[in-house]
């Protein structure tokens, strides 16, 4: 994980987890146009998750598809609870996530990167948002699936939390799990998020020096 990798963006981060390579950039708070979209009491958070055509085995047509529109939405909702949007009325905070290489777990890697980019942009936040996926492969609950595991696995569950008080900001699941498996997965996933949190803090300290 590395923070502040882009010159023009207000905040940016690069995160590599396994074979996932993700860049996130934040612009803002900045004036929002058209003006009727402005909110008098808070900033509007926009988010675009985008996959590079070369990021996957078979070339992906560029531009948003249904999957990336949904991911953009859940990513926005995963990050928004952490941002003090009320400090910046009438502005927008624009988050861009570019998946350069994908190997399952891109949305969680994107959230992890975007939250670093928000911090790098100096936007006041309640906490970092840390994300990670947990899944079920061959009947066992495992952390952070790879593409191969995901394809043959029985379930995949991305999670994002604000680790200081363990509040969940993103939770999705598809596949099948029993209730017991689900409980185990949720525990393991949240533990995974806390590991990511440590790395995020390390990356921020690396750029901005010591101090808690």
């Amino acid at each position: 994980m590395e923070v502040g990798i882009l010159k023009r963006a207000d905040g940016s981060a690069y995160v590599e987890i396994g074979d996932n390579k993700v860049i996130a950039a934040v612009y803002g708070p900045r004036e929002l146009h058209p003006r009727h979209l402005q909110r008098p009491d808070r900033a509007v958070v926009n988010c675009r998750y985008n996959m590079a055509p070369f990021s996957v085995e078979e070339r992906k047509r560029s531009g948003p598809d249904r999957r990336s529109i949904e991911i953009s939405k859940v990513t926005r909702l995963a990050l928004e609870p952490a941002i003090f949007t009320e400090y910046f009325p009438r502005t927008s905070i624009d988050i861009f996530i570019e998946i350069l290489q994908a190997d399952a777990g891109t949305r969680t890697t994107g959230i992890t990167a975007a939250s670093l980019a928000l911090a790098d942009a100096g936007i006041p936040m309640r906490d970092l948002v840390s994300a990670c996926a947990v899944g079920k492969v061959a009947g066992r609950i495992v952390l952070d699936l790879t593409k191969v595991e995901d394809n043959f696995g029985e379930a995949d569950m991305p999670i994002a939390i604000m680790p200081r008080d363990n509040r969940i900001t993103l939770l999705q699941m598809d596949g099948t799990m029993t209730e017991e498996e689900f409980k185990e997965a949720l525990k393991l996933g949240m533990e995974g998020c806390r590991k990511i949190y440590k790395e995020q803090r390390r990356a921020l300290k690396e750029k901005y020096g010591q101090g808690d």
């Binding site: 509007v44 926009n46 949904e70 939405k73 624009d94 969940i168 939770l171 029993t178 209730e179």
Partner: protein
């Protein structure tokens, strides 16, 4: 930024009304008199559209959703040559709410369709292999089209119930294959549906969990969790929504609430299906 995707219109609720709803909830009461863990009545009607291979109309309180299932012959995906294709789409019709606008599906419509789709797909409710006509060449493409007619809250669950009911109602035409040519016969057999995935949505308002939120409750909710069960002890999809947060305990409690609601709704669906069989 070049394209603003986040263009969903927002509806407002007056502070007085909001305070009223919140104050009631503090005492575990709701504006429509329900208990916190009480869902609205479900009314299901199947076979409402004759031109569709399967259809169902669901009323969840005052929320109304119509689902039509259409079949077309198409090509299978290269990585699953012996399986039919399933596609789910949603239209939030402008008749259903003052904030729905005509045009291509927005992110809410797409999310809704994808959550329903995941429930059906991951529970393997539909036997896609039975939709194969000629391996690698011709299969049935099954379109689930969700038409939201009236949004008085929780269109997710209404759509989920209507979708699975419509699938139970679906009849697949028999085909005759001769020299690689497919002839569609005027005979039908019911689609093989193996499971009944049902989504259950719970809103978090303040520190209360509220089953099956109505429209006004949705306007004051902080976040939402949708749990799809395909059996009592089988979770097949989860989706957190809304811009608030939820705790681990909220999730586990929701699971419990969802299980009870699942039993109720499943019974309602079975009843409609068995009545149709008579």
């Amino acid at each position: 930024m070049g394209k603003v995707i986040n263009l969903v219109k927002e509806e407002l609720i007056s502070d007085v009304r909001r305070d009223y709803i919140l104050r009631l909830l503090e005492n575990d009461k709701r504006i429509d008199g329900r208990r916190l863990d009480e869902g609205r009545d479900v009314e299901i009607e199947v076979g409402v559209i004759r031109k569709a291979e399967g259809s169902a109309k669901v009323k969840l309180g005052d929320t109304q959703v119509l689902v039509g299932v259409k079949l077309e012959i198409g090509e299978p995906f290269p990585d699953s040559p012996n399986r039919g294709v399933l596609t789910t789409s949603t239209e939030l019709l402008p008749v259903a709410s003052p904030v729905f606008e005509p045009g291509p599906p927005n992110e809410d419509a797409i999310e809704l369709a994808r959550v329903i789709d995941r429930g059906i797909r991951s529970s393997e409710a539909v036997d896609l292999e039975s939709l194969c006509i000629i391996e690698g060449e011709k299969v049935w493409v099954l379109f689930i089209d969700i038409h939201v007619l009236d949004d008085d809250g929780n269109i997710m669950d209404a759509s989920s119930i209507a979708s699975i009911a419509a699938l139970y109602d679906t009849k697949v035409p028999k085909t005759l294959v001769e020299n690689g040519k497919v002839e569609i016969l005027d005979e039908y057999e019911p689609l093989t549906v193996r499971k009944t995935p049902i989504s259950v949505t719970i809103a978090k308002v303040g520190n209360k969990l509220v089953l099956d939120p109505n429209h006004e409750e949705e306007l004051v909710m902080d976040s939402r969790i949708t749990v799809t069960l395909s059996e009592e002890n089988e979770v097949c999809s989860i989706q957190k929504g809304g811009s608030g947060t939820i705790s681990e305990r909220d999730v586990l409690e929701s699971l419990e609430i969802a299980r009870n609601r699942f039993k109720e709704v499943k019974e309602a669906i079975s009843e409609v299906i068995s009545r149709r069989g008579d």
